[in-house]
């Protein structure tokens, strides 16, 4: 079905099951092939295997077109892989579910609902009583820094504010894993930095498992425990790098930290090398 180049296995770390108790998501030899209009197969993902530990902040980093978002959608259950399987706590993922909460680059808020209505939507769907859902949602809105905007419609908010609402809306139904698809990609640099800081603050409180797709090296190193580097055509894992930096992380300290700088430089160099090697296949 899929033409997987033999070389791909060199780059893939074997799925280690040394700590089976702490692994929450397993991606097991996943490939994704799309049919393009010219009836040619486009291999978006080629034989991806990856384990994600519970409570880890894992970034998937790669150039556009490497299939990193597709990988996230497979974990979300929004897309079925052509071959292989993704598992959540040992259960095969067959569709979306409230245990995996997505946050999209496009925000995807419900424009006919107010900020409060958006955040309450998930809990209400889960059967939480209105008064309780509202109290929780108001607290979350405050946590993401939008107190006073509860009755605004998405149309009236800036991009950064919309993404804060989207994050609160997803956190509101208590997913075990956050799936963030280039969440800050549509924001300007300043807003992006602020949201990274705030996300880190929120995350360091309860340490939910996060799968975070990005093409920004700084962002990946700053936020993550682990960076999964992907290369494109076909999309495959190039390297998995543990980011051994102390937490809680503060941007002003981290930017001056030589270890942080080394991670960024090393990762950028590795991407450069693979670019020079030319497209695989």
């Amino acid at each position: 079905m899929t033409a997987v180049p033999a070389r791909s296995s060199e780059w893939v770390r074997p799925v280690t099951s040394q700590e089976p108790a702490s692994v929450i998501i397993e991606i097991d030899h996943v490939s994704q092939v799309f049919q393009t209009s010219a009836r040619k197969d486009h291999v978006a993902l080629s034989d991806i295997s990856l384990s994600i530990e519970e409570g880890a902040f894992v970034s998937i980093l790669g150039p556009s077109g490497c299939g990193k978002s597709t990988l996230l959608y497979i974990v979300g259950g929004f897309v079925s892989p052509t071959s292989g399987a993704a598992r959540m706590k040992g259960q095969a993922i067959t569709g979306p579910g409230p245990d995996r909460g997505p946050v999209f680059q496009e925000f995807a808020l419900f424009p006919w609902k107010t900020v409060l209505g958006n955040v309450m939507y998930g809990p209400r769907q889960q059967g939480v009583r209105a008064a309780e859902a509202e109290a929780q949602s108001r607290a979350l809105i405050e946590m993401v820094g939008l107190k006073g905007f509860e009755n605004f419609y998405p149309k009236e908010l800036s991009g950064g504010m919309k993404q804060r609402v989207a994050l609160a809306r997803t956190l509101a139904y208590h997913p075990e894993v956050l799936l963030m698809d280039e969440p800050f990609g549509a924001l300007d640099a300043h807003t992006r930095t602020r949201l990274q800081n705030d996300l880190l603050n929120i995350w360091e409180r309860d340490r939910k498992t996060v799968l975070f797709v990005t093409h920004s090296v700084d962002e990946a190193v700053f936020l993550s425990d682990k960076v999964v580097m992907m290369s494109k055509s076909p999309g495959r894992i190039r390297e998995v790098i543990d980011i051994d930096l102390p937490r809680p992380r503060r941007r002003n300290e981290l930017l001056l930290d030589p270890r942080y700088q080394k991670y960024v430089v090393d990762i950028e160099r590795m991407f450069d090398e693979s670019d020079e090697a030319g497209p695989a296949s």
């Binding site: 259950g77 997505p102 999209f104 496009e106 006919w112 939507y121």
Partner: protein, 248 residues
Amino acid sequence: MLACIGLLAVWQVASLVLKNDSFPTAIEAIRAIPDILGDKESLINILASLRRMALGFCVAVLVSIPLGLLMGRSRSVAAFFNPLLMVIYPVPKAALMPIIMLWLGVGDVTKTLVIFLGVSLPVIYHSFEGAKAVEEKMLWSGAAMGLSPAQRLVRIVLPAALPEILTGCRTGLVLALITMITSEMIARQSGAGNILFNALDMGQYDTVFAMIIIVGAMGICFDAIFERVRARLVRWSEPQFDLPLSFS
């Protein structure tokens, strides 16, 4: 409003200059309005028209919105209905009347059915387009919250497509009035269109013009009321909430 008064003034002057029997002055036409509305027979006729129009419009909207939304979200449903609708769309619905009259007579059913057909197509089309344009990620967000496909259709696709759907309904409302009058012109038995054409046959030109004003005014009123309802329902999608609306 100023433009309306201007139009009446031009009409008045033009008819005074032309002095044609079949072109009454604006004042004569307006004087005839209370006569029509005061006449029990005419009033029953107009109300019968409105009842058919309301029924045809409501049934059409209730059938067309779900159909359009399903077509927008399901490739197979769209593939089934689309060719059919493409064929029916450009056909003037009044042209179908002879056949329908032949089958169902000249009564209420025929006329209501024609109104139904006239309203359905724009509503289906706009619901279809609206549903197609709904952002995939919005549906995914709903799916992650645990909404079933049916719930997503009703609770995400429907509200997200509502601005587009209501645009279709507004077109449908105007078409309902048009097909109402047309159907009554063809199947002359009762209704506002019947009064109009009877008056024409009998050379009561002031009544003819008065009826045109009445029908026109009805159209403007319905559209204005609908526009108010629409603006309220989709306030969230308007670029600016306090934008002065037409007709208000």
